[in-house]
Amino acid sequence: MWDFPLFPSQASTNAPRLDALMLFEVGVLIFFSLLIGVLVVGFGIRFRRGNAVDRSNPPTHSQSMEVVWIVIPMILSILMYAWSTQLFFDLYEAPADAAQVDVVGKQWMWYLQHPQGRSETNELHVPLGRPVKLNMTSQDVIHSFFIPAFRIKQDVLPGRYTSLWFQPSKVGVYDLFCTEYCGTNHSNMIGKVYVMEPADYEAWLSEKGVGPSQAEEGERLFVQHHCAGCHRGSQTVHAPKLEGVYGKPVPIQDGKDVRFVTADDRYIRDSILLPQGEVVAGYEPIMPSFKDQINEPDLLKIIAYIKSIANRETSQ
């Protein structure tokens, strides 16, 4: 019966710092609540009607009292403000060496993509003691990514990227919630965060048989969306081979001129979503747009596939 927590566990470097601030503010809360409470009850007892006390010349105003109770809250306010704002900025400015995990929210699941290729749904595995940075976007409505044990939260928006970072400090399994109301199953858009010893984490990363890797999934989708129909040497359609494209400069027709663009994630992504934007020199702009047809997680997989064939030579 009494086996229920009253305080969330502290599992990130941020958590104790935030709790310290919270403790201070709870102190302020208790101080003023008690002050008001004690005064109200105290005056209530002392000055209750019929009690024989001195009631002569009750003061009706006092400049100096007003100054006192303006200045003291003001000073406390500025203190609380400075402290919390300091923490807040630290909360979002990720260290440069943070590992990056991509997060996509959609009704009603979290999709997480590790740099090493592994992806997960509603689960996030992270190594102990290493800063992790989340790059987040949403495919539909606004969601919010919340890990109480880390004391962090950030809304996840459609059409925009937002970010968040943390450094886990305690091995364990923690809750992951969506805190921005997002429709029917908002309360089931939840997951778990596994903080692991770095060695366990490495093992987990290389674990096989947990399903196809990101790139393998991507290849399947590449075929499924008929990309392969054009891009794997079609007789009728003249389209570039995608092997070895990633990371290399690509010539782009720009009016009569040609300029070069590096084929990075953004470029690949735009080529798929807005193919008319940049047309490879020497090809016709016939590739259809896949905007609204491929969802964000799948897009990431396809990009992962195209990345994975970056070192393969084209057979042209």
Binding site: Y92, E93, A94, N135, M136, Q154, L157, R160, Y161, T162, S163
Partner: protein, 119 residues
């Protein structure tokens, strides 16, 4: 203690009388109208003038609009002849629009000042 008393003479809106019924000369109205027409011509003229940057063009257009509005408010709407309360109301409403715009745009302009995605 507060008393009931038969004296509506003391009514405090004595100031009110002066405020409302000032008759403005037709000539004044016509002058204001003329000024408005000139300002209208001026805005269109300014539009065709290339003043170097869009911001300047916008600033000029808005300044002229404000001057026009001020003329209408002061004379056609009689604020020039009205009690301070009317002045405060008119100026206050403009102030509030400014406030909304200032805080709203402050968010948009300061996004991306820090090199943090989405902040």
């Amino acid at each position: 203690m507060q008393h009931h008393h038969q004296s509506s003479q003391l009514h405090q809106s004595a100031e009110a009388h002066e405020q409302s019924h000032h008759v403005i000369a037709v000539k004044t109205y016509l002058m204001i109208y003329l000024a408005l027409m000139l300002l209208l011509a001026l805005t269109v003229g300014a539009y065709f003038l290339d003043m170097g940057s869009h911001q300047i063009n916008l600033a000029v257009a808005m300044t002229i609009a404000v001057v026009k509005a001020v003329l209408i408010v002061l004379f056609f709407m009689h604020v020039y002849y009205s009690a301070p309360l009317t002045w405060i109301t008119a100026v206050g409403s403009l102030l509030w629009v400014g406030l909304l715009l200032a805080f709203l745009l402050a968010d948009y302009f300061s996004r991306g000042w820090l090199d943090i995605l989405g902040k």
